[in-house]
Amino acid sequence: MDGGVTDFEAWAEARVAGLLRFAYLVTGSQHAAEDAVQAALTRACEKWSRVGCTHDPDSYVRRMVVNEHISTWRRSGRREVAVAEVRDTVVVDAAAGVADSDAVWRMCSALPRRQRAAVVLRFYEDLEYAEIAALLDCSEATVRSHVHRALTSLRASLTSQEER
């Protein structure tokens, strides 16, 4: 057992900010991110005697965050597509980097939930495809397909932005 993770509170306090950022990218909303992280931490707290003994409690809780988000969607029976923050006015003279960043976020916001989770796990958490597949409970090929489609979509979006 890793003695450094035996205390839930110390472990959770050290990770909660990172988990919230991760959850925000997966859910696209501050409120949903807080809900997902709180639910995941609650379960981890309840089972800490066992979760703390696993070699990677971070991975366990990250998985719970993703599952909480996807389960909420399925429970609600909705198939909404999250929409990026709506801005009435496009800041045309903003730096190109800001425009690209917005394009990335719009692309992520339009993705189905599992696909979006795959992109965040790949490019924000820097996980390998095999690790993402294990976390999302799907094949590595499916993860690669998710990521490939997302990048294709982003490329198209950026090209169209440049043409405008």
Partner: protein, 335 residues
């Protein structure tokens, strides 16, 4: 790494930096966990009374005594032997509802509500079918646009009770029964017969009330393998369908269970919110399996094992591939 990937990394990182991380989530999680532990202690105390009563019956020597029911299973559920569907008919289950339908009907989806309009997400083939509100496909269309030619039954559809004429003179009737909705679109005699067969409680318990730790009351299913499929709704596993597989499937399950290895990730399987769970029965043995955590445990035992099975393809029978994303979302199915 190409520029596009770096752009995504930078874009996500930039967004993540804007997130407010000041909410006291750790303290809230601890409080929430304490409350849930307290609630479970009350349930455990109640369950202890049940066990004492059940234990007394066993000491009496009556071996046929019903196993301890799970706290949350409805009392008028599966303890009563389920009436068999008449010849040429089969019984379909959804939550606490059981209803008989013609045995040759296929499977499909029932409407879910999206953007306040009932929508069907399915790529089903034509023909009479039984639909459930499970999104088995990304192909969705508003229910009002569908002009059905064949009869159907929808279990648990998000519709108001009432009668409407749909398609080519087909009458669709929705009623509330056993805590859910039953919708039948068929000619008059068939519709009445199907609606008349609706009842509370089938072979499988309508909900699990958590990951089962004691045997649940399921009618005897002989040498076959009874598969009760559950999906998590508000953290509770609710029944979405049941299927009796043959004796070969039962032998395969038992063989697979014997050969499986002790799990190292057991905590995930202890979570009743696992999106999809199975309750399995072969003769007097029962197992619970978490399809997300890919673990299986014999009811009454402590340890979880995996892998659950070698692959979902051998489970593509009856209703199962239409309600379990584990099967319809598997790489073999999605191509």
């Amino acid at each position: 790494m190409d520029d596009l990937e770096q752009l995504v990394r930078d874009g996500l990182r930039e967004r993540a930096e804007r997130v407010d991380t000041t909410a006291p989530l750790v303290a809230r999680a601890r409080q929430s966990a304490r409350r849930r532990r307290g609630a479970r202690a009350v349930v455990a105390a109640a369950a202890a009374v049940v066990i004492v009563v059940g234990g007394a019956a066993i000491l009496d020597g009556s071996r046929d005594v019903s196993p301890s029911p799970a706290p949350d299973v409805t009392s008028d559920g599966a303890e009563t032997p389920t009436p068999m569907a008449p010849d040429g008919w089969r019984t379909e289950q959804w939550h606490d509802l059981a209803v008989d339908v013609p045995a040759h009907w296929g499977y499909g989806s029932a409407p879910i509500r999206t953007d306040r309009r009932p929508t069907i997400c399915d790529d089903r083939r034509p023909g009479p079918y039984v639909g459930r509100p499970v999104m088995a496909s990304d192909m969705c269309m508003f229910a009002a646009w569908i002009e059905p030619e064949d009869p159907y039954v929808w279990l648990g559809a998000d519709l108001e009770p009432g009668i409407v004429v749909v398609g080519d003179g087909l009458v669709q009737e929705t009623v509330e029964v056993a805590g859910t909705t039953l919708t039948v679109a068929a000619d008059d005699p068939l519709r009445r017969r199907i609606l008349g067969s609706a009842r509370r409680g089938g072979t499988c318990p309508g909900e699990l009330g958590g990951v089962p730790t004691a045997r649940l009351p399921i009618a005897t299913t002989g040498h076959g393998l009874m598969v009760c499929a559950y999906r998590s709704e508000d953290g509770q596993p609710r029944l979405v369908g049941g299927e009796l597989l043959d004796a070969a499937a039962a032998r395969q399950l038992i063989g697979s269970y014997r050969a499986s290895a002790l799990m190292s990730r057991a905590p995930e399987c202890e979570d009743a919110a696992d999106e999809e769970m199975l309750l399995l029965q072969v003769r007097d043995r029962q197992w619970v399996a978490g399809l997300q955590c890919q673990g299986i445990r014999e009811v009454g035992e402590d340890d979880w094992f995996q892998p659950f099975l070698t692959g979902p393809d051998r489970w593509e029978v009856g209703v199962l591939p239409h309600v379990l994303a584990w099967i319809f979302g598997s790489p073999t199915k999605s191509g």
